[in-house]
């Protein structure tokens, strides 16, 4: 049994390190295991197919599309302008504006890179012009943008919900406080570093300017209310809320005259390809999980992990360590499919709440979006800041540490994740 376990996880890891595309590394390992161990090769295509042919997963292309449309609509610039008038002359003013707007935009966008791109495109050039360090700006927006997968809506929660059958609207609600905790944690290094380097703030807006900025940003400010309101008002499913977000964004782009036909085509095309790339991972990652389970590799890893400790809290910290390292090498979606088959029985064993576990895991994977070598958010912000990944990798460290601090809070204070879904009547804790 050990040999096959080593083959499953070892081969996958070697392929990823060699630079094989993650989806292909998963697919190759899965196909090889199934063929070598005669696990019913006839089923390969139907498992591949059934992983993607799921109604809840339709939320993924629509939330990705909503992100692209909202980015083009120009609301991020309006939000940044309003926030900078409100934050005023505090040291690191623009940095704090960046965090606040990224967290807010997380309420519109369900993907970290989309959030980082929308806000970074406006804010990173502005920060560089005001004398902020390029690496600092890239690291800040990369980590702040990752809160998008904690603040509802969130593509990560859709996938976690599909795998574990925890309600997606409940997960969305569970992510609100942890997302705010992450944002608050990021302000600490942003303030300290800016103060030390003397990166000054802006000025307060006069009441008149504030009112003008508020009016300009009004429809953008309403977007999270429209998206989340339609879902929690019982009007529609998360997938349909995503569709409403797309239509709302197109209408905004039409009102602001920022989205022409050509822009709309680009949005549609980019969204289609980005979602296909995600769904391709889903298909092969699901096949990998199935194959690993069939040959007993999942069971073997599970037993070895359980033998490490009987202490639930110690185990949670071990799991988070593993996820942190995995987050440096893989994307969030692959990690859900590879690791959840192991974690689901552990949740039952240790009586962990599955909603809290999902929020905690997603928080950890949000950090992974900004930890290189594989760091989808940092790829976006380094290209916006026009610097090498190596430089951003160093600059991002204080922000990653701050996020880890917030993660410890989310681990120890489960109420943060569980209370809002219970208030909204979306969730009953299992234990």
């Amino acid at each position: 049994m050990t040999a096959v376990t080593l083959l499953v996880f070892g081969l996958f890891l070697v392929l990823v390190v060699l630079g094989i595309r993650i989806a292909i590394a998963l697919g190759t390992t899965a196909c090889l295991i199934i063929l070598l161990y005669h696990q019913g090769a006839m089923g390969i295509s139907s498992i591949f197919y059934s992983n993607i042919a799921k109604f809840p997963l339709l939320a993924i292309p629509f939330f990705i599309l909503a992100g692209f449309v909202m980015e083009r609509s120009g609301i991020s610039g309006r939000l940044v302008h309003l926030a900078s008038l409100m934050v005023g002359p505090i040291p690191g003013g623009l940095a704090i504006v960046g965090i606040a707007v990224c967290v807010f935009f997380g309420g519109i966008s369900g993907s970290g890179p989309a959030d980082a791109a929308a806000i970074g495109a406006v804010l990173i050039p502005a920060m560089i012009a005001r004398g902020y360090d390029r690496g600092f700006a890239a690291g800040l927006i990369a980590t702040a943008g990752s809160t998008a997968i904690l603040i509802p809506p969130s593509i990560a929660f859709v996938v976690y919900g599909v795998i574990t059958e925890v309600s997606v609207p409940a997960l969305f609600a569970g992510g609100i406080f942890p997302g705010l905790v992450a944002g608050a944690a990021l302000i600490v290094p942003a303030y300290i570093i800016s103060k030390r380097h003397g990166w000054g703030g802006e000025r307060w807006g006069t009441p008149r300017e504030l009112w003008e900025a508020f009016k300009r940003a009004f429809w953008g400010l309403m977007a999270p209310a429209v998206i989340l309101g339609s879902m929690y008002g019982g009007i529609c499913t998360p997938t349909e809320a995503a569709i409403i977000a797309v239509v709302y964004g197109i209408v905004l782009g039409w009102i602001y005259q920022t989205i022409g036909w050509r822009d709309l085509y680009r949005c549609m095309l980019d969204a289609a390809i980005t979602s296909a790339v995600v769904m391709f991972i889903v298909a092969f990652a699901g096949l990998f999980g199935w194959a690993a389970d069939r040959v007993g590799a999942i069971d073997h890893v599970l037993k070895s992990m359980l033998s490490l400790s009987d202490n639930g809290l110690a185990m949670i910290f071990i799991i988070n360590g593993v996820l942190f390292i995995a987050g440096m090498l893989l994307d969030a979606i692959s990690i859900f499919y590879v690791f959840l088959p192991i974690f689901i029985p552990m949740m039952a064993h240790f009586h962990w709440d599955p909603l809290w576990f999902g929020v905690m895991m997603t928080y950890n994977l949000a950090i992974g979006q900004a930890t290189p070598p594989v760091a989808v958010n940092l790829y976006v912000t380094t290209s916006l800041a026009d610097i090498k990944l190596d430089r951003a990798a160093v600059a991002v460290i204080p922000f990653v540490l701050a996020m880890v601090g917030g993660l410890v809070v989310v681990i120890l204070w489960q109420w943060l994740s569980i209370a809002p879904p219970v208030w909204f009547g979306l969730y009953k804790p299992v234990h």
Binding site: G19, I22, A23, I243, M268, I273, A276
Partner: protein, 162 residues
């Protein structure tokens, strides 16, 4: 005219993908909107799932062309040119290999089974083959785009050496 056709040949997946996701948005929005008017279009959900399968496979092909699929290039970038070329071939073999396995299994087992059993979808009563055909049909396109992209990579790695 010839230029336009050639552009379409290079961008066929892109145009179809964009059209598909546009149609999906319209269909999905119509479903939400009409529900308020007391009119149910619940069957559209099945159609949307079918389009999602096709969109995934077509978009995957386009994704290979744009090099949009995620990978960890940290080690690769630090290898000598020969190693990079070897890895490019290795990567192409694994990609084509795993897609071929899924395609062939689908074409040889799954689709004939579905035809034999006359299996149909629940609410639209369409043959399920309409869904599963996406895998072998678009699989051919995926392989074509992988080979094109690998050939381009191979050439650019060779050029940089001189």
């Amino acid at each position: 005219m010839g230029d336009k056709l050639r552009w379409l040949g290079r961008n066929a997946e892109e145009v179809v993908c964009a059209a598909m996701i546009t149609f999906m948005t319209v269909l999905g929005f119509a479903n939400v909107a009409t529900r308020y008017l007391g009119y149910s279009m619940a069957y559209t959900e099945e159609l949307l799932v079918m389009l999602l399968v096709w969109l995934t496979m077509l978009g995957t092909a386009a994704g290979f062309k744009r090099n949009a699929h995620l990978s960890m290039t940290f080690l690769q970038e630090r290898l000598p040119r020969v190693g990079q070329r070897a890895l490019a071939i290795f990567s192409a073999i694994l990609t084509v290999g795993s897609v071929v396995v899924v395609m062939v299994v689908c074409a040889v087992y799954q689709i004939p089974d579905e035809i034999l059993l006359k299996s149909r979808t629940l609410s639209l009563d369409l043959p399920t083959v309409y869904y599963s055909l996406a895998i072998p049909v678009c699989g051919v396109l995926v392989i074509l785009r992988v080979l094109q992209a690998s050939w381009r990579e191979w050439k650019s790695l060779g050029r940089a050496e001189r």
